[in-house]
Structure formats: C-alpha cells, structure tokens
Amino acid sequence: MNDKTDKLIDKKGIRGDGRKADELRSLKLQVGVLSNADGSAYIEHGKNKILAAAFGPREMHPKHLSQPDRMVLRCRYHMAPFSVPERKSPAPSRREVELSKVIKESLEPALFLELYPRTGVDVFVEVLQADGGTRCASITAAALAIADAGVPMRDLVVACAAGKIDDTIVLDLYDVEDKLGSADVPVAYMPNLNAVTLLQMDGVLSSSELEKAVNMAMDGCKNIYAMQKEALKTKYMVVKETEE
C-alpha cells in the first residue's frame, strides 16, 4: 500500500469509478464454459476476467502425493502474461505461489475430503485480465467450477474484499484503490455455515476498522453468493432444456 496521492473518494462518498462505499463492482458469472474440464466457470468481476476449471475427483499423478485417508485438493492460481500492464513472465511468481496456497485453503473447508480417499481434485485458475481483487474473484469462480464438476460441497465459497481509502471503509477495491488505498482485506466466506475461509490484510487498520471491513466484505459475499447460485441454476436449466 502506497501513500495516497489524490483523493480516492469525493465528499459525496463517490469513488473513482462512480461507486458508493458499500457498492460492488458489476459481476458476471457463467458456469460450464469449457468442454474439456469436469467443471468450469468464468467470472467478470469489474474488469477482472478469470477462468476456473476443476478436474476430478481422479487418480493423482504422481501417485505418491495421494493420501490414504482423504482427497487432496490442488490449486494453481496463474496470471496470463497479458493480464497486467507490464507483461508477466509465465513462470509462477512468489505471489502466485502464495495465492495458490491461500485459495486452496479457502476452498478446502467446503469439501468432504474424507469421502474420496486416495483421489485428487485439481483446480486451475487463469487470470486473463487483472483489475484488483483477483484472488477473491478466483475463489468465487473456483467454487463454481468445483460444484460444476459434481464434487459434493458443504456450501459454496464466495469471496470479496473490503478495504480503506482516504479514511473510509469501502467494499470491493479495484486496481487503483488497491494500489493507492491504505488497506485491503480479502475475505472468503461460506454464507450458509457462517464460516470465514480466507482472511488476509495488507495495510493499516485499527481493530474497529477491521471489524467493519470484515462485516462489509461478508455482506458483499452474500450478494455475490446469490449470483453464484443463479449461475449454477442457469446452467442447470439450460442443461435440462437441452436434455429434454
């Protein structure tokens, strides 16, 4: 988080992209977009454009990574070279490795890992365009891909960030706010179970600001959750129509 240079939110509480403090960016969710994956989803979250695919449960390769008593979830979060202003090398950066790990750990609580011992589920996330908040959008899409693959889940996982710009707690930071704001708090959440499965924070917040930000992020999650369910239903209905 850098020093803020200009005002990120004006006196009327309107942000650089025209949103109010507690307003989500526009979202578009699609399920079942790739024919070769067992499950897949596409998300446009603001200008973020992200594809997620799930494969499995299937035999693990290499085999020695499988576990005798549970399924293994593997995740890869990967950015396309053209997804960011300066071309990114396709080799995984340390940031991508960390995000792959926290995304995996945000999804695991939703899975019945013990139901499929010795198998693996692979989730691949490809960020085609990045606009701030990619990890959250990736989790929202990855959960849909896993559901689309037919892997039983306790709940969907949905993610959204809140943060602080110019002393205001706001929802769903975009690129500029992410860079110039004073804190970013990505949250992943399972609404039915009231369970936070990812929480990180960059920047500086007081205790009470943190509480406010987490609550705001969870509210954002609940809104996106409705869209997730809608996206699944839409695909299901389309599939059903096709089948009839």
């Binding site: 454009k49 594809l51 396309a80 053209f82 396709p90 490809e126 085609l128 365009q129």
Partner: protein, 263 residues
Amino acid sequence: MSSLITKVRAKQIEQLLENGKRLDERGLLDTRELKIEQGVIEKAEGSARVYLGKTEVLVGVKVETGEPFSDTPKEGVMTVNAELVPVASPRFEPGPPDENSIELARVVDRGIRESRAIDTGKLCIEEGKKVFIVFVDVYVLNHDGNLIDASAIAAMAALMNTKMPNYEVKDGELKIKQGYKPLPMRNHPITVTLGKINNKLLVDPWLEEESVMDSRITFATGEDGNICAIQKGGSGYFTPQQILEASKIALDKAVELRKKLKW
C-alpha cells in the same frame, strides 16, 4: 492411442472417411465454424479470442521497449510464446512449456515472421539500442484439436487489433504523443493444417481425429498466395504426391478463408 480412444472409435472414423464422411458430419475439406472476437482483453495492447469449433484460443499482445538483436539493429522484435493452459485439457499439466507448446509457438511465429506480417522496420526507436518488442502470448483455453490453425488465426487477429503508443522519435528520443496508432502490418498470413488418416487428407482435424491420425501438415500462406511456412508433424509420413495435394488444398482453403475474413 488406444488409451485415449477405443479402437472401435478409430475404426469408425476410418470407415466414415472411406465414404468421405467425418464423425462430426463435415466433409473432408470443411473447416469447423470459426468465430473471432477482437479486443477482449482491454488492458492488453491487442487481443483476440478465436473459437474453431470447440477449440478456443486467446491471444494477448503486449508492446514494450527493449534492445534489438545485434544482427538486426534497426528492427523491432516479435516473440511468440504459447501456453497449453491446464484448463484446456485433462492432458495438459502446469509447468514450463513442453515440446508441444514450444512447437506450437514456433510454428505460429514462423508464419508471422516469414511472411513479414509485422513491419518491424517501423518499430525502431534508436538504432541498436531501443526498439519496440511485440510479445504475442498464445493461451490455449480449450483443446478440441488443430491448435495450430486456431492459434495462428488468433495471433494474427490480435496483432491486427493491436494499438500502440502514438510515438514520435526525435534524435533517438522516444516521445509519446496523445492517442494510439495501430501496429504497422504489411501481410496477413493464413495458416491451414491437414491431417492424414489411412491415406485420406482432411482439413482442420479435431481432437478425435487427431488421436487416430498418422500425421499432419501445416501451410501458412501470405496475401500473394506464396507459402511462407510449412510444418509436418506426427509420427507418420506423406508421399510426395500427398504433399502436393495437401499444399493445393491448403492454398485453396486459405484463399477461401481470406475472403471470408477480409484479410
């Protein structure tokens, strides 16, 4: 490969071909439906998403500045990279590029480079020191066969969509002016691949056909109808006659496609 498609399926494909038919009901010389969307990645300098049947390829172009190669000090640089992203197929694994993605990148590169599609002479900022570098990143999102043609078309569509800074060079200094201008292009190669199954040639093989085919051959042709790149692939062979036949089909298909695309 018996592990990927049953021998029954292979036989079925071969019998259909004997009667001039294909599993997906195309004629032997028909390409699948082609759909091109340009400018899909707003933040990249250029981009295009191509659907060839169910095969789906996204190409993003980034334009940056850097050093020229020492043997072409006055020319910009183009570099093509391809990733067989694991979302595209259960057989693709994450990791550094393997021989398939490297071959794909190099064949796409060759068609663009040898046809001199990009006017690299116009991408020089300061001779020997600073030029524009055009990064063409091929991202295969869904693999349903014939990645070469889908990628080559997507790469060209992305380059044709590429805007770059409206720069001016004065005394070797790069001055960025307002607005953008298109990447300077001077040719528009079109790439056509044929497969061979049981001595039958077929255009635009899809995944099921690829899994039983002997070999493939790719021709890139420029606007003047000349051939600018060829690549034979696969563990089979072609007779000299089949090569001539394939080249004629490929040139015809390229003309047909060029008309459709208005390239």
